[in-house]
Symmetry: D2
Subunit: 288 residues, 4 copies
Amino acid sequence: MAGNPSHAAILLIHCDDRPGLVAAVTGFINMHKGNILDLDQHTDSEAKKFFMRVAWDLGQFTLSGQDIGKRFEQEVAAPFNMQWELFFSEQTPRMAIFVSQMFHCLYDILGRYKSGEWRVEIPLIISNHESARDIAQRFEIDCHILPITPDNKAEQEAIELKLLEEHSIDFIVLARYMQILSEKFVERYPSSIINIHHSFLPAFPGAKPYHSAHRRGVKIIGATSHYVTAELDAGPIIEQDVVYVSHKDAVSDLVRKGRDLEKLVLSRAVWHHLQRNILVYDNRTVIF
Amino acid sequence: MAGNPSHAAILLIHCDDRPGLVAAVTGFINMHKGNILDLDQHTDSEAKKFFMRVAWDLGQFTLSGQDIGKRFEQEVAAPFNMQWELFFSEQTPRMAIFVSQMFHCLYDILGRYKSGEWRVEIPLIISNHESARDIAQRFEIDCHILPITPDNKAEQEAIELKLLEEHSIDFIVLARYMQILSEKFVERYPSSIINIHHSFLPAFPGAKPYHSAHRRGVKIIGATSHYVTAELDAGPIIEQDVVYVSHKDAVSDLVRKGRDLEKLVLSRAVWHHLQRNILVYDNRTVIF
Amino acid sequence: MAGNPSHAAILLIHCDDRPGLVAAVTGFINMHKGNILDLDQHTDSEAKKFFMRVAWDLGQFTLSGQDIGKRFEQEVAAPFNMQWELFFSEQTPRMAIFVSQMFHCLYDILGRYKSGEWRVEIPLIISNHESARDIAQRFEIDCHILPITPDNKAEQEAIELKLLEEHSIDFIVLARYMQILSEKFVERYPSSIINIHHSFLPAFPGAKPYHSAHRRGVKIIGATSHYVTAELDAGPIIEQDVVYVSHKDAVSDLVRKGRDLEKLVLSRAVWHHLQRNILVYDNRTVIF
Amino acid sequence: MAGNPSHAAILLIHCDDRPGLVAAVTGFINMHKGNILDLDQHTDSEAKKFFMRVAWDLGQFTLSGQDIGKRFEQEVAAPFNMQWELFFSEQTPRMAIFVSQMFHCLYDILGRYKSGEWRVEIPLIISNHESARDIAQRFEIDCHILPITPDNKAEQEAIELKLLEEHSIDFIVLARYMQILSEKFVERYPSSIINIHHSFLPAFPGAKPYHSAHRRGVKIIGATSHYVTAELDAGPIIEQDVVYVSHKDAVSDLVRKGRDLEKLVLSRAVWHHLQRNILVYDNRTVIF
């Protein structure tokens, strides 16, 4: 669907399924003179869970921004035992990029940023390699080089967390960042660290997936973007896509074709995150 | 989404957009103790039109089948000036197949039918070629051979319409039927005749699209399923898909690859039609 | 490329790479007045292996069918230490189908067979379930029901091998045959048993891959056709393809979408096998 | 296939088909001690035309760079009436980019350039809009702003041609350049101007194809890269790809999804051009 308009509220809701949920939510919005711009609802009939995303125009809405959450909790969420998140399209999310020394995803993100494709601020790039600095300067973004060794990992992560806080970062994109984040770090940003893995997970997790794919003789390679969780390459999948390969393709061709795929799959995941389209439940995503 | 359960009602609604529409519909279902199984809603914000598909379980529903439509009209549709259609999942739709002398789509449909993949009855096959009879017999379906010439077209169509009525046919699938139906015929089955065109419409309409595609040197060929309207190859598109081709592919290869595509694209369109997923508006489809 | 013409020879060759291989093969064909219809060559520069498929018209060819192999071995293959296979397009391959009780792939193959899409003979269907018999009769193909238990597997396979021999079967298609063939059986038909696995191998091998895919929350499901080897689901991959899924898709939807994918992927593998397009090397395929 | 190695020669050949062509070319290379790295051959059996691309290692080759063409012409091309082009992988092609004021393709190309993905030099950007200058400076590339009006078109094109010559430009990429080049301009760079058209040509040629696609209600949108010829949007197609859309997608969504597609399709075309993979014949391309 089209990008969110500039003066809208977005609710993401999930709870046990029962009759009357949609009526209750839409009734609340309607009562306070909100015009629904987009409503998507999903019921997982096996798990008996209800999921909903609703966006409405705040132009005529009779509740103030501070009151919406409070009143929604009282009038709708509490009676139905809903879990919910409320976003306003006016708030521009703040992204940090972590990158190692392959820069195709970084260039892709920065091109989108500078050409105004995304409503986002990118005040911070963190890398473990000196070579990222030049690109960050080209795009006038604050850049910190923090090389990671087994010995200094805890310290460097502490510095990273401090930087993230100083820049009021909302979410992190690992744009081919070849380091594993500690469990402690990951837990500070639940459903807010987006990684791109260069294979069709769960096939070929870990390092060197293109080599593994080539050895197995697959006819398709994939890329997977997912939220990072404590377990490596096992977080909720946001987006996947594939590209055809053949016996003619050497590992270097898989790498080349994979680069384009990684850019695409990662950028789609970021788009959905920015649009508040994603609800995480049971280590899976509902993408409205 | 999964196939409709056996004891459900499905409403397809469209009207001018205004606040309160979702609340009104879901309120109606909720009030009469229906549990919503699936709700999908779409607003065309340019055209300011509202579209909705909602399916609910009739198990505890307090209105009888005959009353639902009447009460919905009074209580919801009339006040909001909605256009709507009501279906019951218990009613098995009845399909007729029209075919000429290429049988890949026919075989595909009959395979799905006989293996119970679709909830449908297929009591009738009509062809303008004698060679279809053998296949119909193999699958024990009533078959009528009605060759069409410019001179006998009106008469033959009259016979066809009579056969369709006798077999209580709800919708027609043109499984590579190389005849153009008359405007009069088409108007008897609005949004109920599904055609498969062997190109990516609007590119290459008319006859011999694979030859045209080959001459133009395209790198992708497509197939398009659409509802038949009076204007040739211009009806609302239901489903499209493509397959990659290269300079290595002769016209005969396009035909071969196209056959698989046609089967796939046509069968997906039939599936959506059977599921009552399709709403036609302004010569386009909303596929819920 | 287009199907093989009716009076052609096809050579599949592989050997260590060295200069002069293409010149030697094409020189041989040229010297005996064969016109090359199609030549495809591939060098794996890492493994330093050479692969070639060449088809030529036998219309003016000065060697008889029996002599071609002998002379090619003497004049070209022996000096260059080539391994090769020679086929004639006039020989129609003979296929047996093994099937359990899901019949979508079976119907698809039989539809292609009966409509003349493939140059193949299908004299034999073997199933472990009684329900296959009716379909075989519909298409007038000899059918044997051989239920498999742990106790009778060796005996039943012996019967199967005898039936295959009696019908002069060249290759076997496992059209969703839910039994594991013994190593002994597999070794009788090297690179001649084509299986369809309903996942994107190597992800989700074994039984119930759609359930596993759903649990992992993938956004794409796949199907893989491969030659059967002694190791389960690990043989050389011939063809793979995928279809997009979302959180809306229940396991039953994955099954439904997967059926179409399985038909497509299996039939493409059979097509390549029939065309003699496939060379197996190092547990991978070269598909010319 | 993998990128060309650094010390290789590449021949692109086409001529009327006849026996002995492959043998003649490979014999020539073999005789002078060239090791074939990659050979691909295609026969259009309807048009009776022969096409070939062959790359060989020059390490042990006994002819010097200057002599190869002369000797090939004498010994092979002339007797068989072949047309051919010879390239050396050591020569780095020089590209100019023309752009208007949508910069997604420009950013994509420059990201590939700066990260060393392509073996190319990009010394020149030409735009009809001032806003391109900032990006060019960011990437340290000479940039000229030449606004085009009906009145000044001939003059501005003369300046452009002079700039192209001064920078020894081999080929031009129109990275969403919204101006139509004159026939005279186009003829100076035959098969050397690559355009990206934001539709699945031949559907929706001309301006505003996403609006047309939306109005027609298509379920797939495409992008097409092609060599520019005098006839608008009718040149030989190099690459096409598509992305799925639905009724949920407004025109702005088609534009957004289309941007990614345009980047991908254009960059693949440039890759093939750089690799010398493309042979143009009869307004179509053979992509080896």
